[in-house]
C-alpha cells in the first residue's frame, strides 16, 4: 500500500491534452439524430460495447480508451454495463448467426435517441470473415449504423475521434 501511494504521488497525469485530430478512416453515414439531442450528448454519452462475433482485437483497442493515456472519461464519455443505460452502441466484428438476434435485441433495449458506431473492418464489411458460413453480414445488415471506423484493428485514437466526430457532426459551431 505504501509502495502504491508512492507510485501514485510520483507519476504525473499522462493523459494527452486536447481531442485527437480527425481520422480519415472515419465515415459518417446518414443519421437521423436531432441537433438538440446531439448537443445534449456532447456533454455526456454512455457507451455500451457489443461484440456479435469479433476476434477481440478491436476490444483490446477499445479497452485502451479507458486507460490513463486516452482517458475517454474527460470528454464525458463512459462505458456502462447495460444497454438500457446507454446512448451509443459500439459494435465490433462481423455479425455471426448466433449473435444477430441478441444484437437486434440490444438495439431495441437501448432507449432512443441512440447512436450506433461500427468499429473495425469486420463491422464495416465483414473483413476477412466475408462469405463465412457462420456470418450473417456486416453490422449494417442487422441494425442501422450511424458511424463507421475502418482499421484492423482501428487505433484507440481513431475510435475516440469517431465518437467525438459523431457528437460534433451536425452541431452549429465548427468542430474543434
Amino acid at each position: 500500500m505504501k509502495l502504491l501511494f508512492r507510485k501514485i504521488l510520483t507519476s504525473p497525469v499522462v493523459t494527452e491534452p486536447g481531442a485527437p485530430p480527425p481520422d480519415p478512416g472515419v465515415e459518417l453515414l446518414g443519421s437521423a439524430i436531432h441537433d438538440e439531442v446531439r448537443k445534449r450528448f456532447g456533454r455526456s454519452l454512455h457507451i455500451r460495447e457489443v461484440d456479435p462475433g469479433s476476434c477481440n482485437g478491436c476490444e483490446l483497442e477499445i479497452g485502451g480508451l479507458n486507460g490513463p493515456y486516452y482517458d475517454l472519461e474527460r470528454f464525458g464519455l463512459q462505458f456502462v454495463a447495460s444497454p438500457r443505460h446507454a446512448d451509443c452502441l459500439l459494435v465490433t466484428g462481423p455479425v455471426t448467426r448466433n449473435m444477430a438476434d441478441p444484437l437486434k435485441r440490444t438495439y431495441d433495449a437501448t432507449p432512443d435517441p441512440k447512436i450506433v458506431i461500427a468499429v473495425g473492418d469486420c463491422a464495416k464489411d465483414c473483413g476477412i470473415f466475408a462469405g463465412g458460413y457462420g456470418v450473417v453480414g456486416p453490422v449494417s445488415a442487422v441494425i442501422p449504423v450511424d458511424v463507421v471506423v475502418s482499421g484492423c484493428p482501428p487505433s484507440p485514437r481513431s475510435i475516440l475521434a469517431a465518437i467525438l466526430r459523431a457528437l460534433q457532426a451536425r452541431s452549429p459551431e465548427p468542430a474543434h
Binding site: 502504491l4 501514485i8 482517458d71 474527460r74
Partner: protein, 313 residues
C-alpha cells in the same frame, strides 16, 4: 421565518449539492489514477441527459418497477429534511430522530431490491439478494453505533446529539466516540455501495451489488435513482462529518453562526470526499464472502463503543 429559510437552504444544499460530491470523488480518483478525468459537474450533465431520454421498460415488470424510482427519490428527499447539514436549529424538529432516518434509508433500499427482482432478470435478482444480505448485516451495527452516541447525548435526536458534543472539549479523546465513528464509517461505505464492499464503477455484472439492481432502469427513472444514491452518499458523509466532528455547525440561528456553518460544511465534505477517494484507490474490492467479516468487525467496534460508555462515564 429565518428558521424556515435556513431549513430550506440546508435541504437544497443536500439535494442539489449531492451530484457535485460524486463529481469531486470521481475527479480525485481520476487524478490518483494519472488520468485527467471528467469535470466535477459531469454528474449534472449525465442527469440532464437522462431526463430527456426515452424510457424503455421490460414487458415483464409490474407497477413495483415503475413506482420504485419515486419511492427511492422520495425517501431521500425526506431524509435530507432530517439530517442537520448547516444548522441544528432547523424548523423540522419533530422529524429529528436518527432511528427514523436509518429506516427511511432502508425503505428506499427495500423498494430498490423489490424492483431488482421485479424485472425477472438474473442479475437483478442477484443484486437484490446481495443488497439485502448486506443491509441485514449493516443494520444491527448501525443501531448499536447509534446507541453509543445516543447514550452519551441522552437522546436519539440528531440535533440534540450535536448540541451536546459541540461543547465537549475532550470529544476526540473519548474512545467510545472514535469507535462509533469508525464503525459507522464502515457501515456508511457498505450502505452507499462504495469500495471495498461494492464497486460503483464496475462493468462486470457478477461483481455488482447496487448497480445490478438498477440494470433494467433507463431514462428519467435511472436519473432519479442515480440522483437518490448521490443524495444518500452526501447525507451519510454529512452525518459522519457533523455528528462526529460537530465543530462549525450552527447551533443557533445567528447569521454569524450560520455563515460559519456554510464555510465549514464544504471543508468537512471535501476532507471526507478526498479520504474516500484515496481509500478507494488503495483498496481492492473484497470477495463477497469476506464482506460479513468486515461488517462483523464494524459491529464489534460499535459494541465496544457502547461498552466503553458504561466504563468511562
Amino acid at each position: 421565518m429565518l428558521r424556515i429559510a435556513v431549513t430550506i437552504v440546508q435541504w437544497l444544499v443536500a439535494v442539489v449539492g449531492a451530484p457535485l460530491l460524486v463529481g469531486v470523488i470521481r475527479k480525485v480518483k481520476a487524478r490518483l489514477q494519472g488520468r485527467r478525468g471528467a469535470g466535477v459537474w459531469q454528474p449534472y450533465a449525465n442527469l440532464r441527459k437522462l431526463l430527456v431520454k426515452e424510457v424503455v421498460i421490460s414487458e415483464n415488470t409490474s407497477w413495483v418497477f415503475r413506482l420504485t424510482p419515486y419511492v427511492v427519490i422520495g425517501t431521500m428527499l425526506l431524509a435530507a429534511c432530517i439530517v442537520p447539514v448547516l444548522t441544528t436549529a432547523g424548523a423540522l424538529q419533530m422529524l429529528d430522530n436518527i432511528i427514523l432516518l436509518m429506516y427511511v434509508f432502508l425503505l428506499g433500499t427495500f423498494f430498490l431490491a423489490l424492483a431488482g427482482l421485479d424485472a425477472g432478470s438474473s442479475f437483478g435478482g442477484m443484486g437484490s439478494s446481495r443488497e439485502m444480505a448486506i443491509a441485514a448485516l449493516a443494520e444491527p451495527t448501525i443501531m448499536i453505533a447509534i446507541f453509543a452516541i445516543a447514550l452519551r447525548a441522552g437522546s436519539t435526536g440528531l440535533n440534540e446529539m450535536i448540541r451536546r458534543s459541540v461543547t465537549d472539549p475532550l470529544l476526540l479523546l473519548n474512545p467510545g466516540h472514535l469507535l462509533a465513528f469508525f464503525s459507522l464509517f464502515i457501515v456508511a461505505i457498505a450502505e452507499t455501495g462504495r469500495l471495498p464492499v461494492d464497486n460503483p464503477a464496475t462493468h462486470l455484472e457478477l461483481t455488482m451489488i447496487h448497480e445490478a439492481m438498477i440494470l433494467e432502469y433507463s431514462g428519467r427513472y435511472l436519473a432519479l435513482i442515480e440522483w437518490a444514491s448521490a443524495i444518500k452518499l452526501f447525507l451519510f458523509l454529512t452525518l459522519l462529518g457533523n455528528v462526529f466532528f460537530p465543530w462549525g455547525i450552527a447551533v443557533t440561528l445567528q447569521p454569524s453562526a450560520i455563515a460559519i456553518g456554510i464555510v465549514t460544511l464544504p471543508i468537512k465534505m471535501g476532507v471526507l470526499a478526498v479520504s474516500l477517494a484515496v481509500l478507494e484507490t488503495g483498496l481492492a474490492k473484497l470477495r463477497l464472502f469476506r464482506v460479513p467479516e468486515l461488517l462483523s468487525g464494524s459491529f464489534m467496534l460499535a459494541l465496544l463503543a457502547v461498552v466503553s460508555f458504561f466504563f468511562l462515564r
